[in-house]
């Protein structure tokens, strides 16, 4: 009974993670300017990583792979936002201004 519940929870997390990852890819391709694309990519990167890796972690019983998955999760969660911050900072310093009304003009 407990195994079935854990299995179902794991599949639900994996499916939600796949949906988040796909939406992030779609947003990074389709949104109109750089900062909106970065917002889509970086947010869904973090959420998809958490959901998918937690789903896999529930599938593996408590063992060495679980610890490795925890290490991957922790590392991705530290480096992903850091890389996003560095990227936004570099873009802003190089003179790429975020324009609030560019969406209406392009629509």
């Amino acid at each position: 009974m407990v195994a079935v519940i854990i299995d179902g929870l794991s599949w639900a997390l994996l499916t939600a993670g796949a949906a988040f990852v796909f939406v992030g890819g779609l947003g990074a391709l389709r949104l109109p300017n750089f900062y909106t694309r970065m917002h889509a990519a970086s947010l869904t990167d973090a959420m998809g990583t958490i959901l998918i890796l937690t789903g896999i972690m529930l599938q593996s019983a408590l063992s060495l792979p679980t610890i490795k998955l925890l290490a991957i999760l922790g590392f991705l969660l530290v480096t992903g936002p850091t890389a996003s911050y560095a990227l936004a900072n570099a873009a802003l310093l190089s003179g790429l201004r975020p324009e609030a009304d560019s969406i209406e003009h392009q629509g």
Binding site: A19, I52, A90, A91
Partner: protein
């Protein structure tokens, strides 16, 4: 079910690759490459359990490390080039 997740991640990698090829600024390309690297680590973790070979998790960890370092290195390169190129104008 692992198969569905793997396919979703692969499709997302293709979308990121399209953005990397067609991105108007260099920062769009760096963003797409960063996303591609993160998705590679995730895909390796999923494939490890799909094929029942947990050794792949080490590869995923190495990919995550390499990706982070390479993004920061590329950004530092472009930032240096940008400030070096701009200095004669400002003087």
């Amino acid at each position: 079910m692992y198969f569905v997740v793997a396919v979703a991640i692969l499709v997302t990698m293709c979308l990121a690759l399209a953005r990397a090829l067609g991105g108007p600024t260099v920062y769009d390309r760096v963003l797409a490459v960063n996303m591609f690297g993160t998705k590679t680590a995730l895909l390796l973790a999923v494939l490890a359990f799909m094929f029942g070979r947990p050794d792949f998790l080490d590869l995923a960890l190495a990919y995550a490390l390499i990706n982070f370092i390479s993004v920061l290195a590329v950004l530092a390169f472009f930032q240096n080039r940008r400030t070096n190129a701009r200095q004669p104008d400002e003087i």
